[in-house]
């Protein structure tokens, strides 16, 4: 079953393009932001978060890849073939998830390495005088955590797409869920407790706490707790997808 999913994934040309696109876009946005970031009078930003700014766009492409992995089967009607060959549906979803995770992991490692390298090269020149070594604990955590973050985003998108089936609607739901939570939270004025709670449950905001290396005390969650929130979202989405997969006609 795994090899069937792997064959499907690698023979689709869009898979390679999307993975390459995710890597390119992440590194490009990170490099662009890093080149333009200067220290202000208030202080320098978080070096890891600034270097990894490209994650915001890279995750969108990863989400599209994950949604297409299952929605394409529905739109071409190949899902009938898949479920005829393998009547047990949830293991099919699990195999897809495994292949997807492996692909996104590999692409994520390249993208994160590229972004951190851009930060290492350009940020010390822009005023980040004590730029921590890339091998130090927090920086490693930020880098590795971001790779995990991208994989979790892919799983979250896969789960939602399995539930929704239509590619366009699924992408709208996933990107909406990710980007609109912090947008809406930003506009609730004067209610710091409500904003903190909303930040704690938002998949993208909480998930990206894994990138934080400074100001940890002011965050509503610890970095790993934040990534855990995203993991919960991904698990919930996969569960929802599995249920719908199980109960509805193909």
């Amino acid at each position: 079953m795994l090899s069937a999913e792997w064959t499907k994934a690698r023979t689709l040309s869009s898979t390679l393009w999307l993975l390459a696109g995710a890597i390119a876009v992440t590194i490009a946005l990170s490099a662009g932001v890093v080149a333009a970031t200067r220290c202000t009078s208030v202080g320098c930003g978080d070096p890891a978060r600034v270097s990894l700014t490209g994650t915001y766009l890279g995750q969108a492409i990863v989400a599209v890849l994950a949604v297409l992995a299952i929605s394409d089967e529905y739109s071409t009607g190949m899902i009938h073939l898949t479920f005829t060959a393998m009547p047990r549906r949830v293991p099919v979803l699990a195999a897809k998830a495994a292949v997807l995770t492996a692909l996104v992991f590999a692409a994520g490692v390249i993208a994160v390495l590229g972004s951190m390298l851009a930060g290492r090269l350009m940020l010390p020149g822009n005023g980040f005088s004590d730029y921590p070594s890339l091998a130090s604990g927090p920086m490693l955590r930020a880098a590795f955590g971001t790779v995990l973050y991208l994989a979790l985003i892919a799983l979250l998108s896969l789960g939602l797409a399995t539930a929704v089936r239509e590619a366009a609607v699924a992408i709208g739901c996933v990107l909406g869920l990710l980007f609109l939570f912090p947008l809406i939270t930003a506009f609730i004025g004067g209610n710091a407790t409500l904003q903190r709670h909303l930040d704690q449950i938002s998949p993208m905001t909480a998930g990206l706490y894994i990138q934080a290396t400074t100001g940890l005390r002011s965050l509503p969650l610890t970095p790993w707790q934040g990534l855990g929130v995203l993991a919960l979202w991904a698990a919930g989405a996969l569960l929802l997808g599995s249920l719908i997969l199980h109960w509805r006609d193909a």
């Binding site: 662009g32 932001v33 333009a36 970031t37 200067r38 009078s41 208030v42 202080g43 930003g45 978080d46 978060r49 600034v50 700014t53 915001y56 766009l57 969108a60 492409i61 989400a63 599209v64 949604v67 297409l68 929605s71 739109s75 239509e166 590619a167 366009a168 609607v169 992408i171 709208g172 990107l175 909406g176 980007f179 609109l180 912090p182 947008l183 809406i184 930003a186 506009f187 609730i188 004025g189 004067g190 209610n191 409500l194």
Partner: protein
């Protein structure tokens, strides 16, 4: 063409998903706007000496121009009836953390009620001598700071409704700085010295309460009613003080003149400024981005569903002029989403404003014309984005590609500009000018004031382009995409 429009309309309304999506636009836009507005709060509270809790919502007075203003300062004044003048020499403006717009000088004000008309000549922390009147007007006088070695002479002359400001370095050669016409100025006004400073925006400790002290001598005031004792008033447009506590500030008579110290600002209330209380109207339309995602999905699916089902061949067989089909789709989609968004915004603004006021927030007042521009403008933005998604769908022929491209072009730039506080301003400005998100400028209702320090970012309702320019950028994107789509439709197989 009429037949074409009719057939596209039938196609739209017969797809259950598209109709549901269209209905979701006003529901989600208005719903989420009201929901986030209910979460917003603004208020003050203190404990009286007797142990009671007093609290209340935020409030801000409106100036003569109808805009929300901050009017907090310490006023050492005398009444002045009819024409007259006031002249001082200032030898210092000091503060524990001197702000660029800390101000002290002379002022002629209709009365001591916050929000009343005034004209003032002042020295500032970093912007030299200024003449300001009626909150929004500000003119530069002599540059350079004030000190004992570089004193500044300031003069205000009142003639009826007109107040003219002069400055001088030596007290003999005067330069006119500006003329203020304050319509309806009462016969008896208050004239005197004042001091105020906005809260600390220079260092990171922005909650520190600081005071500015102005040093005056050679004070002379002429006119009916003057010549008596100076009265000191803490003019306050902010939260009230607990009883028994007079506001920060005061004035002392020294051997040579006076010192006046005070806190606050006399300026328009600008959202995002540390001391502001007003909420821009864009905060009553927070649901717009949810609505936009629905609009994008509806617009893309309207054409990509035909490709998926193969129905596009039937459509093009019935109408070989493919550009016309695209145009008909655009017209039907645009009109439907315009109406849906119009309803959504028209409901969202009053309901959300009501919820904001319930939470103690002060909603910036709008003229009827501005309100119309915001509502109709936002609905037009929805329609243009729907057509952009339609064009992208025709270009890519796949719903996933069209939706993700549209979201990356429209939602992600806005998100990056708002949610990343450390993003360099040059990047977020550039994002707000080039991408279709520039059209959100239709929601900007408050102009930028050079004399009020504030972030002036999109999260506070400020955009780099004017409403019309921003909408033009979106139209350029949509038009370009439509043109490319029509060209590709003609050249490619269905």
């Amino acid at each position: 063409m009429t037949e074409l429009l009719r057939s596209e309309w039938i196609k739209f309304r017969s797809v259950r998903g598209l109709v549901i999506g269209l209905l979701l636009i006003p529901i989600l836009t208005a719903g989420l706007s009201v929901l986030t507005a209910s979460g917003s709060q603004c208020g003050w509270g203190y404990q009286t000496p007797s142990g009671q809790q007093e609290s209340g919502g935020c409030s801000a007075p409106t100036g003569p121009g109808g805009e929300l203003v901050q009017d907090t300062f310490y006023f050492a004044h005398q009444p002045l009836t009819g024409d007259g003048s006031i002249t001082v020499r200032m030898t210092g403006l000091a503060s524990s953390a001197l702000q660029p717009w800390a101000k002290s000088g002379i002022i002629i004000k209709a009365n001591t009620v916050p929000g009343s008309a005034y004209a003032a000549m002042m020295v500032t922390g970093a912007h030299g001598v200024r003449m300001e009147w009626d909150y929004t007007q500000d003119t530069a006088g002599m540059p350079g700071g004030v000190s004992a070695a570089t004193p500044r002479w300031l003069r205000l002359i009142r003639a009826g409704d007109t107040i003219t400001g002069y400055d001088s370095a030596d007290g003999t050669h005067w330069t006119k700085v500006g003329t203020a016409t304050l319509a309806g100025l009462p016969a008896t006004v208050q004239a005197g010295m004042f001091a105020a400073t906005p809260s600390d925006q220079v260092t990171a400790n922005s909650s520190a309460a600081i005071i500015a002290t102005g040093t005056f001598d050679h004070v002379s005031i002429a006119g009916n009613g003057t010549g008596g004792t100076w009265a000191g008033t803490f003019v306050n447009s902010g939260p009230p003080n607990p009883p028994g506590q007079s506001g920060p500030g005061g004035f002392q008579q020294t051997s040579t003149g006076f010192t006046v110290n005070g806190q606050g600002d006399i300026a328009p209330d600008v959202p995002g400024n540390n001391d502001s209380t007003g909420t821009p109207i864009s905060h009553a339309l927070n649901g717009v981005f949810v609505g936009l995602i629905v609009v994008i999905v509806v617009g893309a699916i309207f054409i990509t569903a035909e490709y998926r089902r193969g129905m596009i061949r039937t459509t093009f067989a019935a109408t070989p002029a493919r550009g016309k089909v695209l145009a008909a789709k655009a017209i039907v989609l645009g009109s439907l989403t315009f109406v849906a968004a119009l309803i959504g915004c028209a409901i969202a603004i009053p309901l959300a404003s009501h919820q904001l006021r319930n939470g103690g927030n002060v909603v910036d007042p709008l003229t009827a014309l501005t309100w119309l521009r915001v509502v109709i403008g936002t609905a037009a933005v929805f329609a243009a984005i729907a057509v952009l998604a339609l064009a992208l769908g025709a270009i890519f022929r796949r719903g996933a590609a069209a939706v993700s491209t549209a979201i990356v072009l429209i939602v992600v730039p806005y998100f990056l500009a708002i949610a990343l506080p450390n993003l360099p301003t040059v990047l977020s400005d550039w994002l707000m000018r080039i991408t279709p998100t520039a059209a959100m400028a239709v929601q900007q209702t408050i102009p930028r004031y050079p004399q009020v320090p504030a972030p002036y970012g999109p999260s506070w309702g400020f955009f780099p382009l004017s409403p019309l320019a921003g909408f033009a950028v979106l139209c350029a994107w949509t038009g370009g995409a439509l043109w490319l789509a029509a060209w590709l439709l003609d050249r490619r197989d269905a």
